[in-house]
C-alpha cells in the first residue's frame, strides 16, 4: 500500500451544514489528522466547481485517497466515486462522512454538532487509509421485464417497454387487468370517460406480441439480483381452459348462482363463473371455487354443459411458472380506505351513506343502476352531501392528504348536476386543486351552483327528522364560525387512498421499503422517484403514494424508461464489496456454508476449503463475522476498516 495522501473536503451545503456545524473548524481539525495532505471547505461539494476542486487536488497534490464530509452516502457516494475515477483514483479509495443527515440536521447545539462532525470526519479519514482499490463488476441484463399489477400504471409501463420490442411479463392477481381505473365513471378535470381511454390500452396489452399477460396470478418468490432476477409466479386455477375459451359468455348466463361482485363493490351481483366486467382483458372467465355449486356440493356443472368448446376444466390446478427478467416494475396500486371504523359517519349502519367508489359505480352507465343516481328505495335524491378527507388528513387514520379526493368530489358534483336536480354540499377542510386545469375545474363547479362548506363533519345521523332529508349532517362551518345541521338524502364519503392491505408482504417479496405512510419508498423523493433501494426494482403508480391518473401514467413511463435504459445498455455495474476466503487460513469447518443466504459458498472437497462464488455473493458479511479463523474478508467492509472507523468516531 502506498503512503496515504488524503484530501478532505467539507461541504457547507449552503446553510444546511454550515448553519449548525462550524465547517472551518472541522476543516482545520481535518488538516491535522494523520495522512491528510489537504483539507478544504466549500459551499457545495457536489456542484461542478466543487468536483473540480477535488480533481485538481488529486492531480496537483498527488492525492490517493479522498474523504468528503457532506450528506448521506446514499445521495452522493456515487457522485464522488465517479469524481475519483475521472481523476485517476480507484472509486473505492473514497469515503464519505455524513455530517448532514446524521449531524447538522439532527443536532440543535452548534458546538456539539461541530464536535460530532469532527468525530465523523476523523472516522472517515482513519477508515479510508485501510480502504483498498476494488474493481466494479458488470453483469449482463436480461432484456425481459416483469411488471406487477395491471392497473393503469402497470398497463402503461408494460406497453411502453413492449412497444420498444422487449418482452414484458405482466402479472395481475385479479381475473382482469384494468385496476381501479376500470371502475371509474368519468375522469377529472376533462370529464372524458374512464373506460373510453382505458379499454383501448387494455386490449393493446391483451394482443401485444411482446406482452405475456398473466392474470389471476401472483408473484410468489423473487431471487437473483439486478439484471437477472428469477421470479416464481403462481397461476391460480381458473377452471377454464384459456386456449379453448372463446369468451362467448354463455357459461356466465347459465350459471345459477349469484354473489356480490367485487368490481361493483357490493352494489351489483356476478355469477360464480365470471369475468369482473364486460370489457375484461383477457375475456376469459374464472370459476370462484368458494361459491361454485359443483365445488361446494358436487353437482351443477351447468357451465360445462353449455360450453360449446369444452373449455371448462374442473380438474385444473394452480401452476407455478418460473421466469427470468432483468428488471421489475412494481405497480400494485392502492386500497380504498374503509370508513366503517368512523362510526359517527354511519357507513354500513345508515342507508344511503356510500363510499366514493360505490358512487363511481352508481353513476356509471355500465354500473348496477345503469347510471341512475338513486337512493336505496329507488327514488332520486333531492340533496347530497359529499364529505371530504374521510380517512385522510386525520391523525386517527392517515395523516397524509390522498391528493385525489378534492378533485373526484368536484367531479361527482358535476355528474350529479348532469343527472339530477339535487342540491349538492361539499364539506371540505381545504380545497386542493393542484394540477393542470384543476383550479379551473373548481371555478367552473363553483359557478354550477354547488355549495361549498368549509368544515369537518362531526356526525351523520338519522335521528333528526326533517322533511328535507332522512339524514342529517352535523358540522362546523369554520368560515361562518357556526355549527350547522344539514338535512340530506344521500351522503358520499370521499375516502382516501391507503396502501394495499398486503403491502407489507409485497415489500418483503421484492426487498423494498415503505415510507412512514405505508406506501413503497422511492430511492430519492425528488431525484430518483421510481427507483427503490433494491437495484433493478422500480415502483410506479399509487403503490408509491396517492396520485391521480396523469401522475400514475407519468411515473409508469418513467419506470419503463429506467428499465429500458438498463436493457439498452445491456449490462449493469454491481457492488464490488463481496467476500473472499483466504484459503490458507480456512480450516474447512464449513460454518459459513450454511450461513450464506444466497448459497454463494461452496466447499472444495479436494482442498477442504470453502470458496465464495463472487457472482452470487451480495456482500452482506454474515459469513465474515462468523468465521472462527478470520479467513473471510468482506471487501470494503474489512474488520480493519470498520475497527479503524470505530476508533475514529470515538476520538
Amino acid at each position: 500500500m502506498s503512503e496515504p495522501r488524503i484530501g478532505v473536503y467539507v461541504c457547507h451545503c449552503g446553510s444546511n451544514i454550515a448553519g449548525i456545524v462550524d465547517v472551518e473548524e472541522v476543516t482545520k481539525f481535518a488538516q491535522g489528522l494523520e495522512g491528510v495532505i489537504v483539507a478544504r471547505d466549500y459551499k457545495f461539494m457536489c456542484s461542478d466547481p466543487g468536483q473540480e476542486i477535488i480533481k485538481k487536488d488529486i492531480q496537483e497534490l498527488g492525492l490517493n485517497r479522498i474523504v468528503v464530509a457532506s450528506c448521506s452516502p446514499t445521495l452522493h457516494e456515487a457522485t464522488f466515486r465517479r469524481v475519483c475515477q475521472e481523476a485517476g483514483i480507484n472509486p473505492y479509495l473514497f469515503e464519505m462522512a455524513n455530517i448532514r443527515e446524521h449531524c447538522s440536521w439532527v443536532t440543535e447545539d452548534k458546538e456539539k454538532a461541530t464536535e460530532k462532525a469532527k468525530a465523523l470526519v476523523s472516522a472517515a479519514v482513519r477508515r479510508v487509509i485501510y480502504q483498498e482499490p476494488l474493481e466494479t463488476r458488470e453483469v449482463p441484463v436480461n432484456p425481459n421485464t416483469l411488471v406487477v399489477g395491471g392497473g393503469i400504471a402497470g398497463v402503461q409501463a408494460a406497453l411502453k417497454i413492449a412497444d420498444s420490442g422487449h418482452k414484458v411479463y405482466l402479472v395481475e392477481r385479479s381475473p382482469s387487468i384494468g385496476g381501479h381505473m376500470a371502475q371509474l365513471d368519468k375522469t377529472f378535470p376533462t370529464l372524458d370517460c374512464s373506460a373510453c381511454i382505458l379499454t383501448p390500452k387494455m386490449s393493446l396489452v391483451g394482443s401485444h406480441p411482446y406482452i405475456e399477460l398473466m392474470t389471476y396470478s401472483e408473484v410468489e418468490e423473487v431471487s437473483g439480483y439486478v439484471g437477472s432476477f428469477k421470479v416464481k409466479i403462481r397461476k391460480k386455477a381458473r377452471y377454464v381452459d384459456e386456449d379453448k375459451c372463446t369468451g362467448c359468455g354463455i357459461c356466465q348466463t347459465k350459471c345459477p348462482f349469484k354473489v356480490d361482485s367485487e368490481f361493483e363493490v357490493g352494489m351489483g351481483k356476478r355469477k360464480a363463473i365470471y369475468t369482473p366486467f364486460p370489457q375484461a382483458v383477457p375475456n376469459i372467465p374464472v370459476i370462484d371455487r368458494e361459491h361454485c355449486a359443483y365445488f361446494l356440493k358436487g353437482t351443477c356443472r351447468a357451465c360445462e354443459k353449455f360450453c360449446e368448446v369444452k373449455a371448462i376444466d374442473f380438474e385444473q390446478v394452480d401452476k407455478v411458472v418460473e421466469i427470468e427478467v432483468g428488471a421489475i416494475i412494481v405497480a400494485t396500486g392502492f386500497n380504498l380506505f374503509d370508513p366503517t371504523p368512523i362510526y359517527q359517519y354511519g357507513y354500513k349502519r345508515l342507508d344511503n351513506v356510500i363510499t366514493s367508489l360505490e358512487f363511481e359505480r352508481l353513476v356509471n352507465s355500465a354500473g348496477p343502476t345503469g347510471g341512475n343516481i338513486v337512493l336505496k328505495d329507488g327514488s332520486t335524491p333531492r340533496s347530497i352531501a359529499i364529505i371530504h378527507c374521510v380517512g385522510s388528513r386525520d391523525k386517527n387514520y392517515h395523516e397524509y392528504c390522498s391528493n385525489v379526493c378534492c378533485m373526484y368530489s368536484l367531479k361527482f358534483s358535476h355528474l350529479i348536476k348532469e343527472k339530477t336536480d339535487a342540491k349538492i354540499y361539499q364539506l371540505y377542510i381545504d380545497m386542493r386543486c393542484f394540477g393542470k386545469g384543476y383550479e379551473e375545474f373548481y371555478d367552473r363547479l363553483s359557478e354550477e351552483g354547488v355549495y361549498f362548506i368549509r368544515g369537518k363533519v362531526s356526525e351523520v345521523t338519522d335521528q333528526i327528522t326533517s322533511e328535507e332529508g332522512k339524514l342529517t349532517i352535523l358540522a362546523e362551518d369554520t368560515l361562518l364560525d357556526s355549527v350547522i345541521k344539514l338535512p340530506v338524502d344521500m351522503v358520499i364519503l370521499s375516502c382516501g387512498l391507503e396502501p394495499q392491505l398486503d403491502a407489507d408482504k409485497v415489500t418483503r417479496l421484492f426487498n423494498i421499503s415503505r415510507s412512514a405512510d405505508g406506501f413503497f419508498l422511492e430511492r430519492h423523493p425528488k431525484l430518483d422517484p421510481v427507483a427503490t433501494m433494491n437495484d433493478g426494482i422500480f415502483v410506479a403508480g399509487c403503490c408509491q403514494g396517492p396520485k391521480d391518473i396523469p401522475h400514475a401514467v407519468a411515473q409508469a413511463s418513467a419506470a419503463a424508461a429506467e428499465a429500458l435504459a438498463m436493457i439498452s445498455r445491456g449490462k449493469v455495474e454491481i457492488e464490488a464489496a463481496t467476500a473472499v476466503v483466504n484459503e490458507e487460513l480456512c480450516s474447512g469447518c464449513r460454518i459459513c456454508n450454511a450461513l450464506c443466504p444466497y448459497n454463494a459458498i461452496d466447499f472444495d472437497e479436494e482442498k477442504k476449503v470453502s470458496r465464495i462464488n463472487e457472482a452470487v455473493c451480495k456482500g452482506c458479511g454474515v459469513c465474515v463475522a462468523a468465521c472462527p479463523s478470520s479467513a473471510i474478508t468482506g471487501k470494503h467492509f474489512t474488520t480493519k476498516q470498520i475497527v479503524a472507523e470505530i476508533e475514529g468516531v470515538l476520538v
Binding site: 443536532t107 463475522a625 470505530i646
Partner: protein, 140 residues
C-alpha cells in the same frame, strides 16, 4: 460534573442507516452523543467491534438492523438475533452492564423511532454513568 456519554451506533446500510437518514431529512432532533458507523448488514457485526468500542472510550453501543423478516439479505438479521444473546453473555462475563449494549430494529421509514431510541438510550447511559475500563475483566 456533566457527563456526556459516547455511544457507538452500528447500523445496517439498508434499513437502519436509511432510517437515520430519514430522521435527518425530517429534521427530528436527537442527542449528539451517538456516532454512527455503517455496515452492510447487522449480521456483519463481530464481537470485536463492541469490545473495541468500549476499549476506545464508548459508554454504550447501539446495533440497529432491519426488522425480522425485512432483511435486505433475506435472513442476515436472524443471525444477529441468534448471536446477540451470546454477545450479551460474554459482555456480562467481562463486567459490562447489560444496558450498555442494545439491539434494535429500525426500518428505513422509522426516522422518528430512531430518534426516540437514541434519546432514550442516551438518557439511560447518562444515568448509568461512564463506562469504567477497569471494572472487571481483570486488567480491563
Amino acid at each position: 460534573m456533566n457527563f456526556e456519554p459516547k455511544i457507538l451506533g452500528i447500523l445496517c446500510k439498508w434499513c437502519s442507516y436509511a432510517g437515520a437518514d430519514l430522521c435527518g431529512t425530517s429534521r427530528k432532533k436527537y442527542p449528539p452523543n451517538i456516532r454512527i458507523v455503517r455496515v452492510m448488514c447487522s449480521g456483519r457485526v463481530e464481537p470485536t467491534f463492541i469490545l473495541k468500542a468500549f476499549e476506545k472510550g464508548a459508554d454504550g453501543v447501539l446495533i440497529c438492523g432491519c426488522h425480522p423478516g425485512d432483511c435486505h439479505y433475506a435472513e442476515g438479521n436472524y443471525k444477529t438475533v441468534r448471536r446477540f444473546p451470546l454477545l450479551k453473555k460474554m459482555l456480562s462475563q467481562l463486567g459490562i452492564e447489560d444496558e450498555r449494549v442494545r439491539l434494535e430494529w429500525v426500518s428505513a421509514s422509522e426516522g422518528e423511532r430512531f430518534a426516540s431510541i437514541v434519546s432514550e438510550m442516551t438518557e439511560q447511559i447518562r444515568r448509568l454513568g461512564p463506562f469504567s475500563r477497569n471494572n472487571g475483566g481483570g486488567n480491563g
